[in-house]
């Protein structure tokens, strides 16, 4: 179920003195099964863009086609659209409101009119997908830890069985363990065939997980390609206030100091291999 954005422009508060152009002629296609990373400085339009994917916002001009259907069309089935494109907002734990974890995760499927016996099955499935033990089911969500609560919120969207999962900074504000866990679950969900769109400020995260990156600045797409291609443009990224992964930076620094190593390295493992390869080549085992 591809999502296609054609010349999407979006203005906040059009026709008032405080009109702001949040998206400016954005064209892109999200393919089935891909893991798309969306990066850009604060205020570049990332959050606005992802709200177009499930029809929460519709373009001021241009079109968004989800599975060929225009989100702006009269009588578009928005509920079905929101079921297919599951959107997890930033700090999704703020949306949790029910008395028990079970009830909260069941909120989505209930709204979709899923029959009662299937709801329980879906809740169990969603909890398993994000690694929440069944024992938490009857607990109040407000007793859980930050990381657990975020996974409850994620499960609440997964229980709708979306085909595309859109995440706005899923790791913001979590401790390192919480981050690792949630990213692990997202990666596994993608491996199970879910299309994932993830907004992030953490370059290491997207470098490791995404198949393709799209870079936004001032509502425009300034760069897109594989993480390797995108992070090769270090200067451009820095000029718009972004960064490249630390390991990539380190490799560039090494090269500057005369080591003929590859600089398109994105993960620690790759860097280790590349440096080992180089050191093995220089028999003596290295440089001072």
């Amino acid at each position: 179920m591809p999502i296609e954005l054609q010349h999407v422009t979006y203005d906040y508060m059009p026709g008032t003195p405080s009109q702001v152009r949040a998206l400016d002629d954005v064209c892109m296609t999200i393919q089935d099964g891909e893991f798309l990373g969306l990066i850009g400085p604060t205020g570049s339009g990332k959050s606005t863009l992802i709200q177009h994917l499930n029809g929460l916002l519709v373009p001021t001009s241009g079109r968004v086609l989800v599975d060929g259907l225009d989100t702006r069309a009269k009588g578009a089935d928005l509920r079905r659209l929101r079921q297919k494109v599951g959107l997890v907002f930033q700090y999704p734990e703020d949306q949790v409101f029910e008395e028990t974890v079970y009830e909260d995760i069941a909120f989505g499927p209930k709204n979709l009119g899923v029959p009662a016996e299937e709801i329980e099955e879906r809740v169990r499935e969603a909890m398993a997908l994000v690694g929440l033990p069944d024992s938490l089911m009857k607990r109040s969500p407000f007793e859980l830890s930050g990381g657990q609560l975020r996974r409850v919120a994620l499960a609440g969207v997964l229980a709708m069985r979306p085909e595309v999962l859109v995440l706005d900074e899923p790791t913001a504000g979590l401790d390192p363990l919480g981050k690792r866990e949630i990213l692990g679950h997202i990666r596994r969900l993608h491996e199970r065939g879910l299309t994932v769109v993830m907004v992030s400020h953490n370059m290491e995260e997207v470098a490791r997980l995404a198949d393709r990156l799209v870079v936004l600045d001032h509502g425009r797409i300034v760069l897109s390609g594989t993480p390797r291609e995108v992070f090769a443009q270090g200067e451009l990224l820095e000029s718009i206030g972004l960064d490249i992964p630390d390991v990539t930076k380190m490799m560039r620094e090494l090269r500057k100091r005369g080591w003929p190593v590859r600089t398109d390295v994105l993960t620690l493992e790759e860097a280790y291999e590349e440096i080992s390869r180089y050191l093995a080549g220089t028999k003596a085992g290295g440089v001072r």
């Binding site: 508060m13 003195p17 959107l87 949306q95 409101f97 989505g108 709204n111 407000f142 709708m160």
Partner: protein
């Protein structure tokens, strides 16, 4: 969706009215309101109306913006007009089934309606030309004389400042939570009243949770900066009265005198009423 609701409606342009001292503006608005209720015929309203028009022109706020402020009150206006039309005794205008509309009812309804429209437009002008911060600063000073009567003027002003400060924040938050729930298939727009009220739980519960958390954090942040009430507190922006302020007050006083004169000269719009 929720952004359409504007409460702090400050209209940012530079004008004589904008740069006036908020205390003067509050004083003028208060006198204006009192005088509006002293006026008892259309001549009085003509004078008040002209004063209001002058103020709007000087404020450089576009007319459509000023007129828009009346819209939320439209229902009350029509309601008032209809009630007066049918419930005032007098010469018959027309009959509609069991009820009778009267000429005096029509005049009375129009009279009250005009009063309301002028009232709303003029008081809106105060908020259109005065930023919330200025407004509360001014209010704090205006209320100061009442502190002897036990009115906590500083605390009241601080509460208002905080409330005003957080209205946009809470609206934004409500918008965000609403969208998050809509992403989970929630429906806030359809269904009957009861259903709609019930459907608000997914919005209101998280909103209250976060509002209480914010209040807590704000209290801590204020204490961390040694806030302890109004005593001995100085202002970054000192309020000063200028010539425009004195002229404004003088004008409203002159208008008041004129209205009192017109009231005595022409008498009530309908004989036997106030």
């Amino acid at each position: 969706m929720i952004r359409g609701v504007i409460i702090g409606q400050y209209y940012p342009v530079r004008s004589t009215v904008h740069s006036m001292d908020p205390r003067a503006k509050i004083l003028i608005a208060t006198i204006f309101m009192v005088v509006l209720f002293v006026g008892n015929n259309f001549y009085c309203f003509l004078a008040m109306g002209l004063f209001a028009v002058l103020a709007v022109v000087l404020s450089k706020v576009p007319w459509h913006v000023v007129i828009r402020t009346v819209r939320p009150m439209l229902f009350i206006l029509i309601f008032t007009l209809v009630l007066h039309l049918f419930l005032t005794p007098g010469p018959v205008l027309f009959r509609m089934g069991p009820v009778t509309a009267t000429w005096s009812g029509l005049v009375q309804g129009l009279f009250i309606g005009t009063r309301l429209v002028i009232l709303i437009m003029f008081t809106s002008l105060l908020t259109l030309t005065t930023s919330p911060v200025e407004l509360t600063d001014g209010l704090e000073d205006v209320l100061r004389p009442f502190s002897r009567l036990g009115v906590p003027h500083h605390e009241l002003a601080m509460m208002m400042t905080i409330a005003l400060r957080f209205i946009p924040t809470l609206l934004e938050e409500a918008d965000r939570i609403m969208k998050a729930q809509m992403a989970r298939g929630a429906d806030f727009q359809s269904g009957n009243m009861l259903n709609r009220a019930r459907n608000l739980a997914p919005l209101l519960v998280p909103l209250f949770v976060s509002a209480f958390r914010r209040a807590d954090e704000l209290a801590l942040a204020m204490e961390a900066r040694c806030y302890r009430g109004g005593e001995g507190r100085t202002r970054m922006k000192k309020l000063e009265m200028h010539r425009a302020d004195y002229v404004g007050i003088l004008l409203v006083v002159l208008a008041s005198v004129l209205v009192v004169y017109l009231r005595i000269k022409f008498g009530p719009v309908i004989r036997g009423t106030v």
